[in-house]
């Protein structure tokens, strides 16, 4: 038996299928004719002989099909014919197809769009070698710089060095500066001049081992190596990201001969990283990487390279093959103890030893990267993913219902085909192919929709500030997801109607009349679908109601300051080259404050280290005689004299800062009400003394005033403990500048900026906005979830109402006969309408009845995202139920009216 011959024959057959079919038919006809002849020879009459021959031979069509099936190409062949048949069938009922495609496109598109974000933020692996081997010391929870005795999140550079040397569990270890330095640097031209304006560059400092350890190779030139990270300060080299190379240097092929100036140092460009590499932090995309050996020279110039107890680095390791996470954790913790104790300048006080012995470093696998945004967005994205999945389910129920109704219309067609010998499995396959065709077209449209929607989503997620650098473009991962969703929907909405359609009683369906009995038999399923749609819609609308009410609750929260009519901008003074404690800096700030104060329309103006939702500088307030006060986190805010007036934070007792408080006078502080109660429980706090934090100079502050509590980081939080210091006494390299104004924003905005520029043109002004805007930005998540869930809730209700309308129209058309008889017997039109309306209302009532407990259970899961109400909020429940009932009534009104307009004579004649 030669296999190649067989394959050849099979392939030839593919192209000659029609001929083969014809030949088979002819062959069988001859056979039949000969059989008939034989019967006649045996004495039968010609007609009887024909009958006998046919009886003996059997169903020719079926034999032909079976014979051709032997060639195996039948499947392929019939799929094509199924598809073309399906498309024709879909085109025949255009209304249904459009509704189905639209709901599919929206459902699949929404799923794809949300998934693309979810994928980018939560799921996708880093584009590096074997990302699953990468682990992070700590949980990736912190960034910044601190000088603690020991820390489980951030590490010092000397610690990284020793860990890299001493460990036996990692094939390599790398360190990443936990913050991204945003530097206004210059791209030098080929002659080394700065002929262009400065531009903002996001600079990431990494150890020399970073690129080799990740296995990332440069697309041009080379990446950083160990040799670039040996001695401090003399390796001015930089690796550019593909994005920066393209954007700022127009993909100059001669880039390796050009230089970049950051601060006072000129850096040689040694390479360009690969296109897909964005570093190791999802939601960031550095413009360039500089070796950590240069950390002191990249503005703002942290001194973190040689200090044993200055922690600023994330440390990642690549597990050796065969080493478990537990083994690595044990060794890292052992080394942490050893290395910390072994530092030459270690302070082994009782307290430090106790702290060290309690310290345990967890290791976190980071195959999908570090991320600051993951924590923020994982919950909302998961909620939205669930919401859109439910919407898709509703859409599926809808389409199933429409197909079900149609399959009844097609019952005769299907019955005829079965009678002619089509196997039920064949018909089911054909109906499923139709569903799949529908779903694939819907999925295709959905991908198009998702491409637009995901960009829109990303903008919403970014919350009005710079768009987050997330890659949400189409990729195989995403298309695979969409395809899986599409096929799943086709199976979901296609299977029930297909099995329904083929389990017919042939004779019933072939009969001309359509008795009420057959309609009754099919209704429970359709009704079940509508009920589940209503129930799911209720869950979604209740959820949307909860989120919307949370958002409005948040909007009504009193932050403790007056959010209206405050201009807010950030100024950067690094171009001036002053150190933080340069007295000229303070003079400049005071000058700006007083100049702006004099502008028309300005009521008050002040600098501050923070306003709202901007991070914090936290440090304990050490009050003599207060035990455990080190454990209370107090946000320290450094402000100008006019801050409380600008923010309209009321003074409760004492006074606020004045010009009398200078660098040389007694250091003073204003504390918030809550801080006063907590740290000075007895007596009047005013006049009492305290010190700030561990890392501050040994300096006594005197409490001079108490102000009302304000929210500091988010509207949801309890008012924070806040301690205000004056920048005249505690120098600060400011960012925030606030101006309380009257009149139009644009006028004030330009006059304030002009005033600042007139004082010093080198001061850079960025992030001009309002306080109100900044507050609403802190609610990005809540707004995102509320708006999208409201949108999808509305979509769900809309889809359900289509489902109800479709079902009731169908029911009315099936019951035309019955309605005619009722009316002929004297039923009033209103009775008939009520007959239909009652059915709709009972369906919706059952749906709501099932939906309420489902909503209570489902929405319990999102309790975290709610503010100011519980997940069992009765108002949201009632509102959703009323909404659904009224929408359902509208959807049912038209079929009910049609029922009442039935002309009894016509209805009866119709039978």
């Amino acid at each position: 038996m030669s296999l190649p011959g067989e394959i050849k024959r099979r392939i030839t057959m593919l192209f000659h299928r029609d001929q083969l079919g014809r030949e088979l038919e002819e062959e069988m006809n001859v056979h039949l004719e000969l059989l008939r002849q034989q019967k006649i020879d045996r004495g039968l009459a010609p007609t009887a002989a024909t009958r006998a021959a046919h009886l003996k031979f059997g169903n020719t069509a079926r034999i032909k099909e079976k014979s051709l099936m032997a060639w195996g190409s039948e499947t392929l062949e019939s799929i094509f014919s199924d598809i073309s048949y399906g498309i024709r069938a879909l085109l025949r009922s255009r209304g249904l197809t459009i509704v189905a495609l639209l709901s599919l496109a929206l459902g699949i598109g929404a799923n794809t769009a949300i998934f693309s974000l979810l994928d980018a933020v939560l799921l996708r692996s880093l584009p590096v070698n074997n990302p699953q081997q990468l682990v992070l010391l700590g949980t990736g929870d912190a960034s910044g710089i601190g000088n603690n005795f020991v820390s489980t999140e951030l590490y010092s550079y000397p610690f990284y060095r020793q860990l890299r040397e001493k460990n036996t569990v990692f094939s390599d270890v790398a360190a990443i500066f936990s913050m991204t330095d945003n530097v206004h640097g210059f791209v030098l031209n080929s002659t080394g001049d700065t002929n262009s304006a400065s531009e903002l560059m996001h600079v990431k400092l990494v150890s020399g081992s970073y690129f080799p350890m990740l296995g990332v190779r440069a697309q041009l030139g080379r990446t950083l190596t160990e040799a670039d990270d040996t001695t401090e300060g003399d390796h001015p080299v930089v690796v550019l990201s593909n994005g920066f190379w393209k954007r700022a240097m127009a993909s100059d092929p001669d880039v390796l001969n050009r230089k970049i100036k950051l601060g006072d140092t000129i850096y040689t460009i040694i390479g360009v990283s690969p296109t897909e590499f964005f570093g190791t932090t999802v939601g960031e995309s550095p413009d360039m990487w500089v070796p950590l050996s240069m950390v002191k020279f990249v503005p703002p110039g942290y001194d973190a390279y040689s200090k044993n107890f200055v922690q600023s680095l994330n440390v990642i390791g690549r597990l050796k093959p065969g080493v478990s996470l537990a083994q690595a954790t044990t060794e890292v913790n052992l080394l942490l103890q050893q290395i910390t104790r072994g530092f030459s300048d270690v302070d082994l006080s009782q307290k430090n030893l106790k702290e060290l012995s309690k310290t345990h470093v967890p290791l976190t696998p980071i195959a999908n990267g570090l991320s600051s945004i993951r924590r923020q967005f994982s919950e909302p994205l998961q909620i939205l993913m669930a919401v859109v999945a439910l919407v898709l389910l509703i859409a599926c129920a809808n389409i199933a219902n429409l197909l079900l109704a149609r399959s009844t219309v097609r019952a005769r067609e299907l019955a005829v085909r079965q009678a002619l010998g089509a196997r039920p499995s064949r018909l089911i396959r054909q109906l499923l192919t139709e569903s799949l065709t529908l779903a694939l077209v819907g999925g295709f449209l959905g991908v198009g929709f998702a491409l637009i929607a995901s960009r829109f989503l990303l903008r919403m997620v970014s919350g009005g500030s710079e768009i987050l650098p997330l890659d949400i473009s189409l990729n195989l991962h995403l298309l695979g997801f969409t395809l899986a969703v599409t096929v799943a929907t086709a199976i979901l909405f296609g299977t029930i109607p297909a099995f329904r359609a083929t389990s017919l009683h042939l004779t019933d369906s072939l009969k001309e009349g359509r008795g009420p009995s057959s309609a009754g038999a099919r209704n429970p399923l359709a009704k079940g679908l509508v009920i589940s749609q209503v129930a799911l819609s209720l869950v979604l609308t209740v959820g949307a109601g909860l989120f919307l009410r949370s958002l409005s609750n948040l909007n009504r929260v009193d932050p403790g300051f007056n959010r209206k009519n405050v201009l807010r901008l950030q100024i950067e003074t690094d171009a001036l080259g002053y150190k933080e404690d340069d007295p000229r800096l303070n003079a400049l700030f005071q000058q700006i404050e007083s100049r702006v104060n004099e502008l028309p329309g300005v009521k008050a103006a002040s600098f501050s280290a923070f306003t709202f939702h901007e991070g914090s500088w936290s440090g304990a307030m050490l009050v003599p005689g207060m035990p455990n006060n080190e454990d209370i986190t107090v946000h320290q805010n450094v402000v100008g004299n006019g801050y409380f007036k600008t923010m309209q934070i009321p003074l409760i007792a004492g006074r606020t800062f004045s010009t009398a408080d200078t660098a040389t006078s007694q250091h003073v502080a204003v504390i918030s009400e809550r801080t006063a109660k907590m740290l000075f429980p007895a007596g009047n706090p005013i006049g009492r003394h305290f010190r700030v934090g561990r890392n501050e100079p040994e300096r006594e502050y005197e409490v001079i005033g108490i102000v009302k509590d304000v929210k500091f980081d988010s509207l949801q939080e309890e008012p924070a403990y806040i301690n205000y210091l004056s920048y005249a006494q505690r120098p600060w390299d400011f960012g925030d500048f606030e101006v309380r104004y009257t009149g139009p924003f644009s006028n004030i905005s330009s006059s304030v900026q002009q005033a600042i520029k007139s004082i010093n043109p080198n001061v850079r002004i960025t992030h001009v906005t309002t306080l109100d805007e900044q507050l609403s930005r802190s609610m990005t998540n809540q707004r995102l979830v509320a708006q999208l869930s409201a949108f999808f809730g509305a979509l769900a209700v809309f889809l359900s109402s289509i489902g109800i309308y479709g079902l009731m129209s169908y029911v009315v058309s099936r019951r035309t006969n019955e309605i005619g008889i009722r009316m002929a017997l004297g039923a009033a039109r209103s009775d008939v309408s009520w007959l239909v309306a009652r059915e709709i209302l009972s369906l919706v009532a059952i749906g709501v009845g099932i939906g309420i407990p489902a909503a209570l259970v489902g929405n319990h899961l999102v309790a975290n995202m709610l503010y100011g109400l519980k997940s069992t909020d009765p108002l949201s429940l009632v509102a959703a139920a009323v909404l659904l009932l009224s929408v359902a009534s509208i959807a049912g009104y038209f079929p009910a009216r049609r029922a009442s307009r039935v002309d009894p004579m016509q209805a009866l004649r119709y039978e």
Binding site: E27, V30, G58, I63, K64, K66, M69
Partner: protein
């Protein structure tokens, strides 16, 4: 007169053997020949015959060509190939092995 259906698995054998004896037959003749030689005990289902012939064509055991019947009609004639002859002996020995086994079981009973 009761006629028995062909036991499963033996249809190939019967067709192959029939073609080996009579060289060149069309479908009706194959069915007739089997029925006659079995003295009308075996009944060939056309519903099985044609799919089986198609499968044998695919396997390359038989080839088909169009010819004219005695009654002057166009019909498709099947002939055994070399592969078909080999297959006949395979099927024969398989059948004899099974029959031998079956009769042993029956005799000892």
């Amino acid at each position: 007169m009761s006629r028995d259906e062909i036991p499963p698995g033996t249809l190939y054998l019967l067709i192959l053997k029939t073609l080996a004896l009579r060289k060149r037959l069309h479908g009706y003749e194959i069915a007739e020949a089997i029925e006659q030689r079995s003295e009308d005990i075996l009944q060939v289902e056309e519903g099985s015959l044609y799919p089986a012939l198609q499968r044998m064509l695919i396997k390359g055991w038989v080839v088909a060509e169009w010819g004219i019947t005695a009654g002057n009609r166009r019909a498709r004639y099947y002939t055994l190939t070399a592969d078909g002859k080999k297959q006949l002996s395979v099927e024969l020995s398989k059948f004899q092995r099974i029959m031998g086994a079956v009769s042993k079981v029956i005799q000892t009973a």
